[in-house]
């Protein structure tokens, strides 16, 4: 039976070359975009370099103060985190670090942009940066306020050129020279919590990083001794934050959470709207809209295509096909079509990903198709095939035999 469906499906596809092309193009193009999108999301959110201990880490990335007429939110300050997060009992280790900021530097009269970030010593212990050479700066060096730096492989290349080793050499940023202590593997800017070109000890910051204010430019990662302790760690921080005294009379409540990587990544800094919900609805809505159009298009094409075959429908019914059998046949045909489109889509995606990776649109973001992405893609195709096939199939199966035979 299936073999017969396959035969007729292929015959029909070959006969209506233009329709087939439009359908296949619609499906494969949609799928390509979805696959590239999922590959992107998967990479951005799923790549665990360098925070490999993500499953037992919580991230504090924002603080929000709300008063009657005022509302402010930003990353917390070093002062706040040092006072309220660093004193938690549950975490095995805690690191505080700043967000990245940009500055310029000159080398051979050429201006280059440098992003820098301040960290403590625990940063290099919690996060597993891959050192291509050298090592992180030590607690001792930080306490001494030594001007040392860890730099990214890209920065090394841009600043020093193609040289074997740069450990011990000096790199200048903001008119200050730092001695390079190590070079780490690049990470893409989409990992914006941890991304930087050069990493510096807090103690060399020009600004007073210990300034007493709640809002600032710092983040923290809390590392639990085991996965089981993560929720306990979360609760402990909630309790501590609930007891934090108001910064001034202007505010009546303070919110700050220790959240998982994903929640932290999409945090909006607004207590009333969850970043995850927003991100999911945005992505969901996009995917839905993006699939809706080709689906409608396909439904339309399918109706035309099926109605063209009304004589066939009439004949099949006259010789014993029930409406249900026909619905089944047309859905199978449509799934064959969409799966074909799916295969083309996958090939196109591979090409698209290859091109994107090669064009280096986002440096160091190496997109790949993985099993999840592929599975989602094929699932999408299947849903696609069902959605666009069921309605036309149902409509034509209701066709009266005599009417179907008359229409030519």
């Amino acid at each position: 039976m299936l073999k017969n469906y396959f035969k007729i499906a292929i015959a029909v596809l070959k006969r209506r070359k233009f329709f087939t092309f439009i359908s296949l193009f619609g499906i494969s193009f949609t799928l390509t975009v979805l696959i590239v999108l999922t590959a992107f999301i998967d990479k951005v959110v799923g790549d665990d370099y360098p925070d490999k201990k993500r499953d037992r880490s919580l991230y504090i990335t924002s603080i929000e103060e709300i008063g009657k007429d005022s509302h402010s939110s930003s990353p917390p300050s070093y002062y706040f985190l040092n006072r309220y997060a660093a004193s938690l009992k549950t975490p095995e280790k805690i690191t505080l670090f700043s967000g990245f900021s940009g500055t310029n530097t000159y080398i051979n009269n050429k201006k280059i942009a440098i992003n820098y970030k301040y960290t403590d010593a625990n940063y290099w212990e919690i996060l597993e940066y891959k050192f291509l050479e050298g090592k992180p700066y030590t607690r001792q060096q930080i306490d001494n306020g030594e001007r040392v730096a860890v730099i990214s492989a890209d920065m090394k290349k841009e600043y020093f050129g193609d040289v074997a080793s740069v450990v011990g050499k000096y790199i200048e940023a903001d008119n200050i020279k730092y001695k390079v202590s190590g070079v780490v593997k690049n990470l893409p800017i989409t990992s914006y919590l941890l991304y930087s070109d050069i990493y510096l000890p807090f103690t060399v910051a020009k600004r007073d990083y210990k300034h007493k204010a709640y809002l600032g430019d710092c983040m923290a990662i809390l590392l639990a001794p085991s996965k089981r302790d993560v929720s306990k760690m979360h609760t402990e921080y909630e309790q501590v934050v609930s007891k934090v005294p108001m910064e001034n009379g202007q505010f009546t409540s303070i919110f700050s959470h220790a959240s998982s990587y994903i929640e932290g990544y999409v945090d909006t800094g607004n207590e009333k709207s969850s970043g995850v919900t927003i991100a999911l609805s945005v992505i969901g809505g996009f995917v839905f809209l993006f699939m809706l159009l080709p689906t409608l298009n396909l439904v339309n094409i399918n109706i035309t295509r099926i109605m063209e075959r009304s004589s066939e429908i009439g004949v099949r019914k006259a010789f014993g096909a029930s409406s249900r059998t026909l619905v089944y046949q047309f859905i199978v045909e449509n799934i064959i079509l969409t799966l074909l489109g799916g295969l083309i889509g996958i090939v196109l995606s591979l090409i698209a990903l290859y091109l994107i990776n090669n064009a280096n649109l986002i440096p160091n973001l190496d997109l790949t198709i993985n099993f999840t992405v592929l599975f989602c893609g094929l699932l999408v195709c299947l849903i696609f095939g069902l959605l666009s096939g069921v309605y036309p199939a149902w409509r034509m199966s209701k066709l009266n035999v005599v009417t179907a035979l008359k229409a030519q």
């Binding site: 017969n4 004949v315 099949r316 019914k317 006259a318 029930s322 249900r324």
Partner: protein
């Protein structure tokens, strides 16, 4: 074999009502070869479609093999047609995307058969209509007479007791028409298949057992 009682068929469109069949009662015996004649638009096709359970009458009862067919579901009707009836149409209604053999196998797809059985039965049916050497052709590669022979093979492949033919020779020249008529007569004689045929050709009608004439939806002979 087929018993029609007080059959009425009314077509309603937005503006007019057509009474296509007006109180027709007709018995077709087992093994009979019956022809139906009448001017264009008098309701011949409508009558044949009602006999073949392709269309429901507005009033009246259709009995086939002493079985009333009024309350059968879509699935039961489909099954009934598949088991008992074979159709031949004026314009052949072959599926152009399928080869001759696949066209002939079609009724068997809706039964419990293996691919091998289907192929065997379809080849036999094609042999009966003298088309053994065309099984890999597509319908568009055949002449009108050949196409109608494929259609006959399709109608008999499931060994139905009844064949309903609506102007089977209407699109063919007289030589080809006679060939088709020979095949039908042979089926009737050798296999005892009951045949009801609509025709415009007096000569052909004369070759059958009985002739029914319609005029304006009513039986006049």
């Amino acid at each position: 074999m087929i018993r029609l009682q007080n059959i009425e068929k009314v077509y309603r469109t937005d503006t007019i009502e057509t009474l296509a069949l007006n109180s027709i009662s007709l018995d077709v015996e087992k093994g009979e070869f019956l022809s139906i004649m009448g001017p264009s638009g008098c309701g011949k096709s409508t009558l044949l479609n009602i006999m073949g359970l392709l269309d429901a009458p507005s009033k009246g009862d259709v009995r086939i093999d002493d079985q009333t067919t009024q309350h059968l579901s879509d699935k039961q009707l489909a099954n009934f047609r598949n088991q008992k009836l074979g159709f031949i149409f004026q314009s052949y209604h072959l599926i152009n995307d399928l080869q001759v053999l696949d066209n002939v196998e079609l009724p068997l797809l809706y039964r419990n058969t293996t691919a091998k059985q289907r192929k065997l039965l379809a080849s036999e049916a094609l042999a009966k209509v003298g088309l053994t050497n065309r099984i890999k052709h597509f319908p568009t590669q055949l002449s009108g007479g050949q196409r109608q022979r494929v259609a006959i093979a399709r109608a008999i492949v499931g060994r139905p007791e009844i064949i309903l033919a609506d102007e089977p020779t209407g699109n063919l020249d007289s030589a080809m028409g006679n060939e088709i008529m020979e095949i039908l007569m042979q089926l009737n004689k050798e296999d005892g298949t009951t045949i009801v045929m609509v025709t415009h050709d007096e000569n052909m009608a004369n070759k059958t057992h009985r002739l029914v004439r319609l005029f304006d939806g009513a039986q006049v002979q």
